[in-house]
């Protein structure tokens, strides 16, 4: 692979990694409060459809991204009501969110009669900010300066979330609520309010990730367009030990593995595409088993009350 081939591949990885980063950061915030959502994939799909529908009907990409974020926040709010107020089992709850959101995304994609969403196109997608100047530099020019605004925002989201979690008082409270809600409650922190707030903010980030898929990566809609990004994000949250910077590295790593087919095409090596699609999942499975010594959870700072509803009276 020559010089420009490497740059080209890394550009693809940066693009493909961005929705995964947004989803990973969003779910990390949610899980840090003790609420998980295994329906991320569905939420991203719904946000992707809503964002695309908004952008095509208003002609505004910004509105599309906002609408995607709002759809994500709304879907996570449903998950929050179930997990926090109704104290439902979070695996089954997440599955319900997954199914409803996936179905809704396909429903949105099919309305519009003779011109369903899948036949429409954006007049322009989210584009890189710079084309000249620093973006013209060899190698680092396009990689660092030639990205679109949302790529930079994903880095900002990672940095801000990491700072918030580990360097601010509110972040400390959030981690306290996720680790030991009884103690947090005794210290005067409202467990329910903290959880609702962070789950919904996290959902908005997941939604932006979904919006990125339709508005920046593809500029089009089709059923199941996120193609497993949400599932990858869910596994990355665990692998990263609920730490945003590790999540960013893992997201790019997974994006690279997922796009290895593209890489191999550049190398003119042919491999059955069906086997390539199962590669990231096989690697995840192996890694899950290898790194799953008992005590792994403790070592990797899994929130102590993850998936456990808080009920003051049963303390």
């Amino acid at each position: 692979m020559n010089h420009s081939g490497v740059v080209q591949f890394l550009m693809v990885v940066l693009g493909a990694g961005t929705p995964i980063i947004f989803a990973t950061v969003g779910e990390t915030i949610s899980q840090r409060s003790g609420v998980m959502n295994i329906g991320i994939e569905g939420v991203m799909l719904l946000a992707a459809a809503v964002a695309f529908w908004t952008a095509t009907s208003t002609g505004s990409l910004v509105l599309g991204i906002v609408a995607g974020g709002a759809a994500g926040a709304l879907a996570y709010a449903v998950n929050a009501v179930g997990a926090i107020s109704l104290r439902v089992d979070q695996v089954v709850l997440g599955l319900g969110v997954l199914i409803v959101c996936t179905g809704l995304s396909e429903y949105i994609g099919s309305i519009g009669g003779a011109h369903p969403l899948s036949t429409q196109a954006l007049s322009s997608t989210v584009k890189p900010l710079l084309h000249h100047g620093p973006a013209g530099l060899p190698v680092i020019g396009p990689l660092i300066f030639g990205q679109d605004i949302l790529v930079y925002l994903s880095w900002v989201a990672v940095a801000a979330t990491s700072f918030y979690l580990f360097r601010t008082r509110a972040g400390l409270w959030l981690r306290a609520v996720g680790d030991d809600p009884s103690s947090a409650d005794a210290a005067g922190i409202s467990v329910a309010r903290t959880r609702y707030l962070h789950v919904i903010v996290g959902g908005a980030l997941v939604g932006v990730g979904g919006a990125y898929v339709t508005l920046a990566l593809f500029g089009a809609w089709q059923d199941g367009i996120t193609a497993g990004d949400g599932w990858l994000a869910f596994t990355i949250v665990l692998f990263s030990g609920w730490r945003p910077w590790r999540g960013l590295v893992a997201a790019y790593l997974f994006a690279a593995i997922t796009n290895v087919g593209f890489n191999l095409q550049l190398l003119k090596v042919s491999a059955p595409s069906q086997l390539l699609t199962l590669l990231p999942f096989l690697i995840t499975l192996v890694a899950l088993v290898v790194f799953s010594r008992r005590g792994f959870a403790k070592l990797h700072a899994q929130p102590g009350a993850l998936g456990v509803p808080f009920w003051r009276e049963s303390r």
């Binding site: 104290r87 439902v88 199914i99 809704l104 069906q274 199962l278 088993v289 799953s292």
Partner: protein, 373 residues
């Protein structure tokens, strides 16, 4: 004159645990859950410019309107009954395996492989049981890695089973599209198509479109329910489901039981895959072998709706089978078939939300009545 006045400022809606919900409360909650899902679907239909009443009527007609429709419903329900039973037994043991789809596909690969390889040279009475057994073995093997990892390493079973699902889906596509394996029809050279299994390895006919698959599925599910209720193993699993600590203290071998129940669940899903192959698709067709939401996920929805009872899962699965069949009828009426998926999901969310009211009650605490004179 002294009057008691309700103090609104002090009134609070309080959540209180309750012992056991009375049957009328349970029935009301379930009815409201179903009603809520139907209303939600009606709103979506109405927003999309359809007549909800006529669409709902066509859904019921395509599921139960005639013996032909009902026979199709039963055929769709058969594998769902098995994946629902597979869900119930693991969830009851507090193991949240969601790998039913992967195990079903593994069962489908194994059973169609056996049918294609040796089914042609054996009489049906021998071949069909062999094919079903191969499905059971396939599903069991597919559940082995998550089961052993969960039991002995404590690996999160939600994620491992999920990964096994993705791997199975891609693997089925690879076998039929990516290679020239026995699963790929060598007669068909232009497009990749799955090889049809020999006709005598197809399930014997029952009536109309229905075959004995529904009887096998219901029979096996009821047998598993009976064994779970009456055997020592079933008791041990119930204890584990309630509290792993208690189980350890009582001397129950937790790891061994976890492997057992996850493998049994995998075997049931594998059988579901074999039923799907020998009854519906009659090949390893990647697009129709595990359609829509997935027979495994549908089984999880059914199990949750049936409140983790295998016996109750059977009628719920039949209703769900009707809903699955409705997809085609809806498309003919220009209603997006995604509506069925939304209805399934909304039903699941409302029913699990409703379970809150089985465990807790809301009480309006009036505060003190203030006496003014």
């Amino acid at each position: 004159v002294s009057t008691a006045r309700f103090n609104f400022a002090k009134a609070r809606l309080r959540v209180e645990p309750r012992g056991v919900a009375s049957p009328p409360v349970q029935a009301t909650v379930i009815a409201l859950s179903f009603g809520g899902a139907l209303v939600l679907g009606a709103i979506m239909l109405w927003a999309g410019g359809h007549n909800p009443v006529s669409v709902y009527r066509s859904i019921i007609d395509s599921g139960f309107g005639s013996w032909f429709a009902f026979s199709q419903t039963l055929t769709s329900a058969a594998p769902v009954i098995l994946t629902a039973a597979a869900t119930v037994i693991v969830f009851r043991a507090s193991i949240f395996s969601i790998g039913m789809d992967g195990q079903l596909l593994a069962g489908a690969i194994a059973s169609s492989g056996v049918a294609l390889e040796i089914g042609g040279s054996l009489p049906g009475i021998v071949a069909l049981p062999l094919v079903l057994a191969a499905g059971i073995a396939g599903g069991l093997i597919w559940s082995l890695v998550p089961a052993l990892a969960r039991a002995h390493l404590g690996t999160n079973e939600v994620l491992t089973t999920l990964m096994m699902n993705f791997i199975a889906t891609s693997f089925v596509a690879y076998l039929v599209i990516g290679t020239s394996s026995i699963w790929r029809d060598s007669q068909e050279t232009n497009v990749a198509e799955a090889t049809p299994i020999p006709s005598h390895t197809v399930m014997p006919h029952l009536f109309q479109q229905a075959d004995i698959g529904i009887l096998i599925a219901s029979g096996v599910a009821l047998l598993v329910a009976l064994l779970m209720r009456t055997t020592r193993k079933g008791f041990e699993l119930r204890v584990i489901g309630n509290s792993v600590e208690t189980a350890r203290y009582a001397g129950i071998k937790v790891a061994r039981n976890i492997v057992f129940v996850m493998c049994l669940s995998g075997a049931l899903c594998g059988l579901a895959g074999a039923v799907q192959v020998t009854s519906v698709t009659q090949s390893l067709d990647p697009t129709s072998i595990d359609p829509g939401l997935g027979i495994g996920f549908t089984g999880i929805v059914v199990a949750a709706l049936a409140r983790l009872s295998i016996v109750a899962s059977i009628p719920v699965a039949i209703v769900m089978g009707a809903l699955l069949n409705a997809g085609l009828a809806l498309q003919l009426a220009n209603v997006p078939s995604a509506l069925v998926v939304v209805l399934q999901g909304a039903l699941l969310l409302l029913v699990i939300a409703g379970q809150f009211f089985f465990k807790y009650r809301l009480r309006l605490r009036t505060g003190e009545l203030e006496h003014t004179s």
